[in-house]
């Protein structure tokens, strides 16, 4: 996602990470492959 944002002319940065799969049936998959929720801020160039 970060790369796609950058390719569209944004300068994205991850602000916060969330362990959004903890306690779900996909928790193990998320931990194994490092899947996390993130907040991303990206400003459109002027």
């Amino acid at each position: 996602m970060i790369e796609a944002f950058a390719s569209a002319g944004f300068s994205p940065r991850i602000v916060t990470r969330f362990d959004c799969f903890a306690g779900t049936t996909k928790e193990r998959t998320a931990r194994r492959y490092g899947v996390v929720g993130v907040n991303v801020l990206a400003i459109r160039s002027r």
Binding site: A4, S7, F18, A22, T29, G34, G37, V40
Partner: protein, 184 residues
């Protein structure tokens, strides 16, 4: 699947839903969520919190890409006030109905819910101050097109405040092909 989340949010899914999850794990304000219609917040299935990225100003025009049942959309509408606008776009009719009904129940006349998807946003060029989205873009097959659409609709200097999932490593082929790893 998301029509099922709209119809029966208490069902069995591989992701969390609802206002308790949003407040406890994602930092939403529980009191603010409690003020929204329960039909809206029960179907919340976000993975982050676009409202914590930066504040949304009164009078702003906000677009929620994949607004679902409308939790983030209605929160945005409350923040922009009567002189602003909150536009929600979603491809699932059941979600759009919940969002529109929730806005009406909540007395938010500045909410506009539209049929569409992230790769063809039904929104004018350079008309949006802030684009928000929560747990949607990872589901879009043509991501470059979706990000180009966000760039198209944002005013110069406008902000995208996006919550979504990312993966920490390059996946091996066997993991990529194992659909059971990634679906409920």
């Amino acid at each position: 699947m998301y029509a099922q989340v709209a119809a029966a949010p208490d069902g069995a899914f591989h992701f969390h839903r609802g206002p308790h999850y949003a407040a406890a794990r994602l930092g939403y304000d529980a009191a603010e969520l409690a003020a929204l219609p329960a039909d809206v917040t029960a179907s919340f299935a976000g993975v982050g919190n676009p409202h914590r990225i930066a504040s949304i100003s009164e009078g702003a025009v906000v677009l929620d890409v994949g607004c679902g049942a409308g939790t983030d959309l209605l929160l945005a509408a409350r923040r922009v006030g009567p002189h602003g606008r909150a536009i929600g776009v979603d491809m699932t009719e059941a979600m759009r109905r919940r969002a529109a009904a929730g806005a009406a129940t909540h007395g938010l006349a500045n909410v506009d819910v539209r049929d569409g998807d992230a790769t063809a946003l039904p929104v004018d060029d350079q008309s949006i101050d802030v684009v928000i989205s929560n747990g949607v873009l990872n589901l879009v097959p043509d991501k470059p097109r979706a990000f180009a659409e966000i760039a198209r609709v944002l005013k110069p200097g406008g902000r995208a405040q996006i919550a979504d999932i990312v993966i920490g490593e390059v996946l091996p082929d066997d993991a990529l092909r194992d659909i059971d790893l990634w679906t409920g």
